[in-house]
Each structure stands twice: as structure tokens, then as C-alpha cells.
């Protein structure tokens, strides 16, 4: 397997020496992973301990796999995740070999000396570009170099674009990793160029035009972006947004740039600006979805957008909508997107039929048929006859347009061509079967979604159909699913207004009627009626029982222009029970079928009868370095790049050159004048510029000299702690070094790293109370600004302060602002308006508060309390809680050092026990429960009935959130207590009653 290309081998020769440490920057697609794995294979031995750091879970497993293929499997790469216990980890480290560790775990292990840092042979770090002075990786390097100066550190990066921050980005990265050597290999590196240009793959670029509606939408989106941007510039005239122009709009991090520009004043900007910035991101996403999603999915996504934009958290109409949604251009987007899917016709508007674009004749005829009073024929179940009838499931007044993506047709053409090419080669007189390479056609896409879409299209393709209608079958299936979804969405929307009124009831009746102000008696009557028709209703997927009466209203009201959601919902509701059940079953089948279709190869012979089974078509997504292995395994000769990608193109080059006898042909498909094309070109340009910048910087770089840091505890830093209790005025050095106990969960933040850099000994522990323990009396709870807002809203902060006050003499709330962002709460008062609680509670409270002469809040009472008011309330109720205002983590580290001066050191074993005794089962685990699934914990705390007090207990008893969901009411109650248990169970299973009835 060691068939490296000459340039890869020479890179390896440069870097393989275990005595040197260096940073390697390589252009993407040139086989970084292979080089990395070969390197690791060289080091693999039970006598050495080599750590792979900073790899994502996918990379970990892929690298492990590749190492296995290379013959390094006993035991190969071991992966340490949080599931692995402390003992097991210690064992593993002691045995040596190749180990991949999550940064957070490695830091903790290094701090707790679970890993013999001085014995580490070396560290291989990927994603070197992400290392900053705040990142955990820099912390790792510091801890590593403190105890171990002989081991190597090989850092890799294949994203030069990211090395841009600050004045001398390369130098700051190298400084953090304490490296003195850097190798830079762009694609235009002489040796690489020489190697790869020997044998070039056969490249065919195909530019497809967008369809007219797509062009319209495209330009409308761009128009919306311009509007949004202009709005943004107007509201922030002081801001330097000059270089933010619409040309950059195609560029991937466009909204990120704007965001970064706004960061220093982010807390001062109003919710409106935030919305604008958010809108930019949404619009950019729309641009890319336009060319990747099929017409129906795109339309559905737009509708979800509108829905989530017009209603706020409580389901009421939202105050400030996104401004772009109100523009004419947005109207074009929505209208055209819909027209790509279907057009609404009804008996009244039929006369204006001709304006409909792109409807093929059959559909028009079908519509006409209907207009003349034909009822859709029940007999033809799927509308799949030679003379397509309107499918039975299609509601009246809807004509499917079902525009297809232009690339699909081109794709079909290419496949045809490839097929012919294969046959041509085989019929050549002197044809001998190729020794290497298969006739597999590899189609590469940028997302799993489009891959699935394409495979679905190909499997259902009707090759004989006219261009642009080849995927009709698939599109019709999608339309059907869409309509069904739509019906439910509308039903849901109607139901939600009633939900508001019933939310106080514990059971939360979803089956309520649409109108909220039905009197009690009426409601009862309706209920009995509902019960009688329960049989029908449950088949109907949640459509409100009162729908039929409302239908008339909506019908007459909506003649083509109204909210078609209602129309469709109404249609769904008026369907007879049996037909609907039928439809439901059909959809079931459809879904099953769709699943089966993913096993493409089996289906394939039907479509491409001429191609032998082993010469299949495979659809895959770009997977960076993972692609290389796929190429090596499949050895395809034909590639279709559904979306252009420089990286993959290079991979093809590498593949072509490492398989000399193989003729390779690659088709590259782009949309002409679209974001896709722009993105491709910009990406190429950016990479080139980034490399040039790096090379220039390397040329003029002043190499820093790293002094070897004294391990903490031996330097002068520890003389801080002087015991004044020694007799005779004699001062004496306290033997304990200055230390801070830090909660495990806090290692996600940057503060522990900075504390360590400031000379504190950081002791990781699982704390029940507080985040940082500075002295036996001082306990600190850290809150970043978003945290603060959130935990005020959830009430978590109250509980935390309660706990801290009980257990510590000096509880402290640390409010930490971010470096480079504004140090001010001012604007938060403005933003919290959007977080204001739903009106449900406030009005009832207000009269009482007003009576006691204290007006509920200084501002407009409807706005809700500001963060400042909440802070006031907190201090009033916890007069002992002090507040630290810190402008950045750096400032926090200073303040901590200040506070600790002359005070005794905390005791970790005591700190762990604090508050743990009343936690029951989890308390016993306190010492080593560092493997906590943080995301799950956070989610868990959001559920009703679960709070900061019992979350640990729940996590000790239940395996995962999923498990909690599967428990029955009784068990949840025994876990949480009757009341909270009920609340929790009802939340998790809300709206499931119907299902119970069915099953």
C-alpha cells in the first residue's frame, strides 16, 4: 500500500524524523491523510506513545481504518472518548501505541497526571490552523512542553485560508505550538506540479443554464441580499462595511464577515440588526439550496422559513419580521418557488390558464377535463397510465408543474455517453479487458442530500421521456408527500391557537377545536361528537374535527390568491375517511420504497440494462481525504462531479498519477452564472492567496525562541502564598502551590487554559456546586453573557446561587464578557425584549405588583424585565453573592490571582463532596465522573421537571435522553417525584395519544 507519489514520499522524508517538531501546510486534495497515516505507521510501536490530537470523530475512525489497511492493526489506532473510564485510559496510555484522544480529555488527563506526559513519544496534531492562544490545543502543547522537551510535535493543516488572524498569523500559530519549522506545499509547489502534470486526467466541463424560474429566484435572492445589506449599512453608518459588497455574497463566510465586523459592538446593536445579519445567512443558504434542492423541497423550506418567521415562540404573530420577506423580491421568490411546484387553478381562474409557464400539455388537459366537470377517476390508482390522468390524491385546483433541476437531464446525457463509450471500447478489435480500473461511474456531490436526490432520480428515471420530464415519477411522489405534509402543517397551525388556551391543562389536549372561545357546553358537545367520530379522525392524521364547516369559508375565500395552505388542509379534511386512510397507507408504501431505493445497485439493471451489474453507478458525497480510499477501492474510470470541487479534482489527479495505466475521464458540472460557479472560483483564488501570504510571511518571519517553562510549583509564582500564622513573625513558604479547582465541564471554556498560563495549578474535578473553587471559602459560578440571559430565563441561576450560598461563605457570580467584544450590558436590555416571556404569565401578575405601589418594571410592562432588573432581584435575594465583572477571560485570570492572594488553598477532595451528598446515587461517582455528555446534560436541563438540583441524579439513573423518552409515566414519576414527573412525561409525549389508540 505504500505507493506514495514521489512528492508525497519526499514530504515524508522531510518530516519523518522524530527528533524534530514542525508544522506542515499542504494544499487540500493532495493526500494529506495518506502522508499522515504513513507517518504514524512509522512510529507505531508498543514502546512509543504517539497521540493523535484534534481529529474529529469521523477523521478518527477513517484514519484508524486507513492505518488498518496499511497493515497497522495490532492494535492500530485506539480512540479515547468520554465513554472510556479513567482506569482504562491509564492502562491504555501505559501500554503505548497510537492513540487518538479528544482534547478535553487529554487536558484533564495531563493535569491529573493520568497520562505519563514525560513518556509521550510525540503528538500528531491535525487542523493546526485552528490553534489559537485560547484553544485547548495550545493548552495541551503548554502542558506537554512543560514536562517533555524531547518528544516531537507534528502539526498538520490543509486549510491555509484559515491562517489569517492578526498581524502575523503564521507566527502566532507557531508560537502557540512552540514550533520553529514550517513546511508549505501548495499545489504549485515545483515538485508537486512536476509530479501531477505528467499524466493529466481527461476533463470535460459542462456548464448548464438555470431555468427561467430559477434565474428569477436567483436574482430575487440577490436583490433581497442587497436590500438587507443596504438596510444594515444604513442602521450602522459608523461601521466599516465598505468592503462588504454583494460580490462577496457568493462567498462562503459572507455573513461571518459582517458578524465579525459587528462583534465589538454586538451587544449594542439592536435586535433589528441581529435579525438582518441572521437574514443574510438565511439568504445565502437559500442561494445554495436553490441549486441543490428539488423544487418541492425548496418550496417547503421556504414555507417553513415563513412560518417560523411570522410566529414567535408562543405562536403569536411576531412583532418584527425579517424585512426582506416584505419586499417585492421576496414575493417573487415565494411565488416563483411555488410555481415551480404547482399552480393553483380553480374554476374561476381557469380562464387565465395560459400565463402558467412550463406546464406540459397533459396537465393542462387534465385541468381542462376537470373544469368541464370530470371527476378524477378512482380506478387508476396511481395515475401512471399511458394517458396520465390526474392522480386521485391530487386535490382539486392544483396543477403540478414539477420543474426539474436542469442538471438532471445533463446527468442523464453524460451517463448515456459513458455507456456508449464503454461499449465502444469493448467492441474495439484489439480490445482486452482492462487490468486495472472498473467501469464504475462515480458521481460526486457536495451533500448527502443531493446524493440521495440523484440516486432517487436515476433509479426512477424515464429515459424515453422528453428532456426536463425524466424524473416525473419521482417528482410526483415528492409532491404527494409534500401535500400531505402541508395538510398537517396547516392543521397544526390551526390547532396551535387553541393550544394556547389549553396549555394550562396538564394533559394538553391537542384535539381541541379551532376556535378558542367556545363555551364550556359547546366544548363538551364537540368532544362527544369527536368521540363518536374518533374512528374517522384517527385516520385523518390530526385534521381538526370542525374542518368541514370551515372549509366552505376558506374555499370561497381562496380563489387562487389566498393561503393555499388552508385550501390543501381543507381538502385533506374533506376527503372521505377511507380514501384518506388509503392515502396514508400509500404514503407508507412510498416511504418504504424510498428506503429500499437507497440500495441502488439492485435496482439499477432495470434502468441500464446494457451495463453489466459490476459496472455500476455510485453516488457519493465529497468527504475530503476519505475520498482517496474510495478511489483506491473502486478504481473507477469515469467521474461525474455534480458540483465542482477543487479538492476532488486534485484527488483525481493524484489518483490518475498513482495508477499509470488507467485512463480517467472526469465530467464537471456547474450552473452557469450561479453561486456555485462563483463559489468554486473564489475558493480557488482564496487558497492561492492564502498560500502566497504564508510563503511571504515565512520569508520574513522572526523566529521566536522558546524558553523552557518551569513546571508550576517550582517557580517564583508559588511564593505568593505566605502563611502569616507562623510564630515569631517569621514568614514561611506554604508548601502547597497556588491552585484552582475547576469543574470538568468548564474545560470547554478558555478560562482554565488562561489560569494555567497565569501560573495557577489547575485541578480538574467534578463539582456539584460552582465552577471554580479559589479558596476553601470562595466559590465562583462563571456565566458568559448568553449563558447569563439563558440561565436567568430558565431559573437555573437562582438554583445555582441557592446552592452556592448554602455551601460556601463567599459565593461569587462571574459575569464574563468576551475579548474584543463590547464590555457593556447596555444593549442586552434591548435584546432581552425578544426573550421576553410569553404574555401568559405577566398580565395576571401585574395588577398585584401594581397594587403594592412598585410598578412591575421601570420600562414598558409588556416588554418584560431587563437583564439588569433580574440582576437586581438576584442580589436582593442573595445579598451574600458577589459579582465579578470581567471584560475578558484574561481579566478573569488576573482577578482570580488577586483574590487568591494570601488565602489558603482549596482542598479538591472536599470541593468534590460539597453538595454531592444529597445527590444520592451520583454522589458516589463524583470522583471520576469526568465523562459527561455535555450536550445531553444541557438538553436534559431544559426539560420540564428537571432542574440543576436533580439533573445529576437523573443522569446517574437513566442512560440517555432516549432512554428517558422510552420510560413510562410511573417510572418517570418515581425518578422525579409525582408532580415534576408528570410534567416531564407530558412534555415528552405530548400529542401521542392518538398513536396509542391506534396501536
Amino acid at each position: 500500500m505504500d505507493n506514495l507519489l514521489p512528492f508525497q514520499a519526499s514530504i515524508l522524508k522531510e518530516i519523518h524524523d522524530p527528533a524534530t517538531s514542525e508544522l506542515i501546510v499542504l494544499a487540500r486534495g493532495l493526500g494529506l491523510r495518506r502522508i499522515l497515516c504513513t507517518l504514524m505507521k512509522i512510529y507505531d510501536s508498543p514502546r512509543s506513545l504517539v497521540l493523535l490530537v484534534n481529529a474529529s470523530p469521523e477523521e478518527e475512525s477513517a484514519i484508524g481504518e486507513l492505518l488498518g489497511i496499511m497493515g497497522c492493526r495490532n492494535p492500530g489506532l485506539r480512540i479515547v472518548g468520554y465513554e472510556m473510564g479513567k482506569r482504562d485510559r491509564q492502562d491504555l496510555y501505559r501500554k503505548g501505541g497510537l492513540i487518538s484522544v479528544t482534547s478535553r480529555i487529554l487536558v484533564v488527563d495531563m493535569l491529573q497526571s493520568d497520562i505519563p506526559t514525560e513518556l509521550i513519544t510525540g503528538i500528531v496534531m491535525v487542523h493546526g490552523e485552528k490553534v489559537t492562544n485560547l484553544s485547548l490545543e495550545a493548552f495541551i502543547v503548554r502542558l506537554y512542553r512543560e514536562k517533555n522537551t524531547s518528544g516531537f510535535l507534528k502539526a498538520f493543516s490543509d486549510q491555509p485560508e484559515h491562517i489569517t488572524s492578526g498581524m502575523s498569523p503564521l507566527r502566532s500559530i507557531m508560537k502557540e505550538m512552540q514550533l520553529r519549522k514550517v513546511h508549505i506545499y501548495p499545489r504549485y509547489h515545483e515538485e508537486i506540479k512536476e509530479n501531477l502534470d505528467q499524466r493529466r486526467p481527461d476533463l470535460i466541463e459542462l456548464a448548464t443554464d438555470l431555468t427561467e424560474p430559477m434565474k428569477d429566484i436567483h436574482s430575487a435572492i440577490v436583490q433581497c441580499m442587497i436590500t438587507t445589506l443596504a438596510e444594515l449599512k444604513r442602521s450602522h453608518s459608523t461601521l466599516d462595511l465598505d468592503d462588504v459588497n454583494i460580490d462577496n455574497a457568493h462567498f462562503r463566510w459572507f455573513d461571518a464577515i459582517v458578524r465579525r465586523q459587528l462583534d465589538p459592538v454586538w451587544h449594542k446593536v439592536g435586535p433589528k440588526t441581529k435579525q438582518l445579519v441572521g437574514d443574510l445567512a438565511t439568504l445565502r443558504r437559500l442561494l445554495s439550496y436553490l441549486v441543490t434542492y428539488d423544487a418541492l423541497a425548496f418550496h417547503a423550506y421556504l414555507e417553513t422559513l415563513v412560518l417560523s418567521n411570522t410566529t414567535n415562540a408562543s405562536g403569536n404573530a411576531r412583532q418584527n419580521q425579517s424585512p426582506w420577506m416584505l419586499t417585492d423580491a421576496a414575493n417573487i421568490i415565494f411565488k416563483t418557488a411555488k410555481r415551480r411546484c404547482y399552480v393553483l387553478t380553480s374554476k374561476h381562474t381557469l380562464a387565465s390558464q395560459p400565463e402558467v409557464i412550463d406546464v406540459d400539455d397533459e396537465d393542462a388537459w387534465a385541468a381542462l377535463d376537470e373544469a368541464e366537470g370530470f371527476t378524477p377517476q378512482i380506478g387508476t390508482t396511481n395515475g401512471r397510465g399511458t394517458e396520465p390522468k390526474r392522480p386521485r390524491w391530487l386535490p382539486d385546483g392544483i396543477d403540478p408543474v414539477l420543474e426539474e433541476l436542469p442538471k438532471w437531464t445533463v446527468l442523464a446525457d453524460i451517463l448515456q455517453e459513458i455507456e456508449e463509450e464503454i461499449i465502444r471500447q469493448e467492441t474495439l478489435t484489439n480490445f482486452k479487458p482492462p487490468t486495472i480500473g472498473s467501469n464504475t461511474v462515480l458521481i460526486m456531490t457536495s451533500s448527502a442530500r443531493s446524493a440521495e436526490l440523484i440516486s432517487e432520480f436515476l433509479s426512477d428515471m424515464d429515459a424515453s421521456a422528453p428532456r426536463g420530464r425524466m424524473g416525473k415519477k419521482m417528482m410526483e411522489r415528492k409532491l404527494r408527500r409534500y401535500l400531505w405534509w402541508k395538510g398537517r402543517l396547516a392543521a397544526d397551525k390551526r390547532g396551535s391557537s387553541s393550544l394556547e388556551n389549553t396549555s394550562s391543562q396538564p394533559q394538553g389536549r391537542k384535539q381541541d377545536n379551532g376556535s378558542g372561545q367556545v363555551s364550556e357546553a359547546l366544548a363538551r358537545k364537540d368532544k362527544s361528537k369527536a368521540d363518536r367520530s374518533a374512528n374517522r379522525r384517527r385516520l385523518r392524521g390530526g385534521a381538526p374535527t370542525v374542518a368541514p364547516t370551515r372549509t366552505e369559508a376558506t374555499r370561497t375565500g381562496t380563489t387562487g390568491t389566498g393561503d393555499d395552505a388552508d385550501t390543501i388542509a381543507a381538502f385533506m379534511a374533506t376527503q372521505t375517511g377511507t380514501a384518506d386512510a388509503d392515502a396514508g397507507a400509500d404514503i407508507d408504501q412510498d416511504l418504504l420504497m424510498a428506503q429500499m431505493l437507497s440500495q441502488l445497485d439492485t435496482e439499477y439493471d432495470d434502468v441500464f440494462g446494457l451495463v453489466a451489474p459490476e459496472q455500476t453507478v455510485l453516488v457519493r458525497t465529497y468527504a475530503d481525504d476519505g475520498d482517496e480510499q474510495v478511489l483506491a477501492e473502486l478504481q473507477p474510470r469515469f467521474f461525474i462531479m455534480y458540483e465542482p470541487s477543487t479538492d476532488f479534482l486534485r484527488q483525481i489527479e493524484v489518483y490518475r498519477n498513482s495508477n499509470p495505466g488507467l485512463g480517467v475521464r472526469a465530467y464537471i458540472m456547474t450552473y452557469h452564472n450561479s453561486t456555485e460557479e462563483q463559489k468554486y472560483l473564489t475558493a480557488q483564488r482564496r487558497e492561492k492567496e492564502a498560500f502566497e501570504r504564508l510563503i511571504r510571511e515565512r520569508g520574513s518571519m522572526l523566529l521566536p525562541i522558546y524558553e523552557s517553562r518551569q513546571p508550576v510549583g517550582k517557580g517564583h509564582a508559588m511564593i505568593k502564598t505566605i502563611s502569616s500564622r507562623a510564630a515569631g513573625g517569621r514568614t514561611e513558604l506554604s508548601t502547597a502551590p497556588s491552585q484552582v479547582i475547576v469543574d470538568m465541564r468548564e474545560f470547554r471554556s478558555t478560562l482554565p487554559s488562561l489560569l494555567h498560563a497565569a501560573g495557577q495549578l489547575v485541578v480538574p474535578a467534578t463539582l456539584t456546586v460552582g465552577d471554580y473553587i479559589l479558596t476553601p471559602d470562595i466559590c465562583v459560578e462563571r456565566k458568559s453573557i448568553p449563558d447569563l440571559v439563558q440561565s436567568f430565563n430558565s431559573g437555573r441561576l437562582y438554583t445555582q446561587c441557592e446552592l452556592m450560598s448554602v455551601h460556601y461563605k463567599q459565593p461569587i457570580l462571574l459575569i464574563e464578557f468576551e475579548e474584543n467584544k463590547s464590555f457593556s450590558l447596555e444593549a442586552i436590555s434591548e435584546t432581552t425584549k425578544t426573550y421576553a416571556k410569553p404574555s401568559g404569565k405577566y398580565p395576571t401578575k401585574k395588577p398585584a405588583a401594581g397594587a403594592s405601589s412598585a410598578a412591575a418594571d421601570a420600562g414598558d410592562p409588556r416588554v418584560g424585565p431587563t437583564i439588569q432588573s433580574k440582576l437586581v432581584l438576584l442580589t436582593l435575594h442573595f445579598p451574600r453573592v458577589r459579582i465579578i465583572w470581567s471584560s475578558s477571560p484574561f481579566a478573569t485570570a488576573d482577578i482570580f490571582a488577586d483574590l487568591k492572594m494570601n488565602l489558603p488553598e482549596p482542598d479538591p477532595s472536599k470541593a468534590i463532596l460539597v453538595g454531592a451528598e444529597d445527590q444520592g446515587a451520583s454522589g458516589s461517582q463524583g470522583g471520576q465522573g469526568d465523562g459527561v455528555n455535555a450536550a445531553a446534560e444541557e438538553l436534559l436541563q431544559c426539560l420540564p421537571g428537571i432542574n440543576a438540583k436533580n439533573v445529576q441524579y437523573v443522569m446517574g439513573r437513566v442512560g440517555s435522553v432516549r432512554e428517558l423518552c422510552d420510560m413510562d409515566r410511573k417510572d418517570v414519576q418515581t425518578l422525579l417525584g409525582v408532580e415534576p414527573g408528570n410534567a416531564c412525561y407530558d412534555f415528552m409525549h405530548r400529542g401521542e395519544r392518538k398513536k396509542k389508540a391506534v396501536s
Binding site: A297, L305, I587, S829
Partner: protein, 228 residues
């Protein structure tokens, strides 16, 4: 700020701490901050701190600009305060750009003297703090406590958006579409249903990529703790 000694000899105007007014030390008479205290009564009174905003709550006011010129002033004031009052606030007006060092130093001082620091960045904000202290004097902590009942949608939204990468639109998508892709189309999109949806079906939803789905699955299905 240290002016207006004239009132010194007069007898106290009111009994401090009773009533619904903020009592202001006459030495604050010229402070523009007074203009910004709204929605609450004000009166001058002979008190040790600068403001008394409740029976047991007092406030010392310090502008960092002033502190830079007279660093000893606040220490004298704190000393004079002694151990009076239960909740002692130092309201800092952050009106300098080099705030890091003074705040650090004041934090230390206040910790020793049992004083809580509040930082304000504008007169309006400071005034808002003062009036809120008075208004909330007897207010129960319900506002910041965990609320038992909340409407379903916002809880669901809060829970799901707590997962990194999931936004409000995604919650809407999950809520409306998950039932559709499960094999029981009549089922609804309860939280438990979402938790049970396999990844490949999540992937099919609009706006969902591999990373997002993995995050969701990590939060929902991976165990809370290791089994050690």
C-alpha cells in the same frame, strides 16, 4: 460629589428606610445621575451611604473617572460605612476605556468588605438600577426562579435549540416533519418521537446536514456518563 456640606448641621429630614422613596445623600445633589432615576420617589436625607434604596440596602456610587483622580475616596467611604446594611452595593460607572485594572482592584476591596459590585455604562442604566432596587425591594423571586408551567412550544424550542447548530427553523421542521418520516404517519411530533427518529430520516429533512444530525443524535442517544 463630595460637596454640599451645608446641610450637615440640620436635623435629619426623615427616618431613613421607611416609605417608598429613595433616600439620597445630599452630597449627591449635583450628580446628573439623579435626573435618570425615574418611576420612583426621591428625597434627601442624612445617611452614610450615597443612596439608600431599601430598609437594608444601600448603594455607594463611584465614577471610574473620579476614581482615577481620587483613588483613596472610595476607601474612605467604605470605611465610614462600617458594617451597616445587609446588602451593600457599589455602583460603578464605567466611563473610562482603561477599566480593567480599577475594576480588578475594586473587586478585591469589595470582596473583603462584603460589598457587591454593579457596573453600569450609562447614567440611564445606573438610574435604572437604582430605581429597580427600590421597586423590587419586596418583590418575590418568581421572576428568576424556575417556572413550573410554560407553554409547550417554547420549552420544546428551548430544549432542542440547546443543541449546538439547531436553530428555530430546524425545530419547526422537526416538529412538523418527523411524524411524516416515521413509519406511523398518524403519529405526531412529540419530543419522544423526535428522539426516536433515526439519523437517515433526519438527514432527509430540509436544512439538515450530517453535522447537525450528528449533534442531535449525540445529545439524544449517547449515554450521559461513562460506565466507569
Amino acid at each position: 460629589m463630595s460637596t454640599a456640606q451645608a446641610t450637615r448641621d440640620k436635623p435629619p429630614v426623615v427616618v431613613p428606610g421607611s416609605g417608598n422613596n429613595i433616600i439620597i445623600n445630599p452630597n449627591q445633589r449635583l450628580n446628573p445621575l439623579l435626573e435618570c432615576i425615574r418611576n420612583v420617589g426621591k428625597q434627601f436625607g442624612e445617611i452614610v451611604p450615597d443612596f439608600q434604596v431599601g430598609r437594608t440596602t444601600c448603594v455607594l456610587y463611584l465614577s471610574l473617572k473620579y476614581h482615577r483622580l481620587h483613588p483613596e475616596y472610595i476607601h474612605a467611604r467604605i470605611e465610614k460605612l462600617g458594617h451597616a446594611f445587609n446588602l451593600r452595593i457599589l455602583l460603578i460607572m464605567c466611563d473610562v476605556s482603561e477599566h480593567q485594572d480599577p475594576i480588578r482592584e475594586l473587586t478585591k476591596t469589595c470582596l473583603i468588605n462584603n460589598i457587591t459590585i454593579i457596573v453600569a455604562w450609562s447614567l440611564d442604566e445606573a438610574g435604572h438600577y437604582l430605581s429597580t432596587f427600590k421597586q423590587f425591594e419586596h418583590k418575590p423571586p418568581d421572576l428568576i426562579k424556575e417556572r413550573a408551567e410554560k407553554d409547550y412550544d417554547s420549552v420544546l424550542r428551548a430544549a432542542l435549540t440547546s443543541i449546538n447548530k439547531v436553530n428555530k427553523t430546524d425545530v419547526e421542521t422537526l416538529r412538523t416533519s418527523v411524524g411524516l418520516t416515521t413509519l406511523c404517519p398518524n403519529g405526531t411530533q412529540s419530543f419522544a418521537d423526535i428522539a426516536r427518529t433515526p439519523s437517515d430520516q433526519l438527514l432527509a429533512l430540509p436544512g439538515f446536514g450530517q453535522v447537525k444530525v450528528r449533534r442531535i443524535k449525540d445529545a439524544l442517544e449517547r449515554p450521559f456518563k461513562n460506565k466507569a
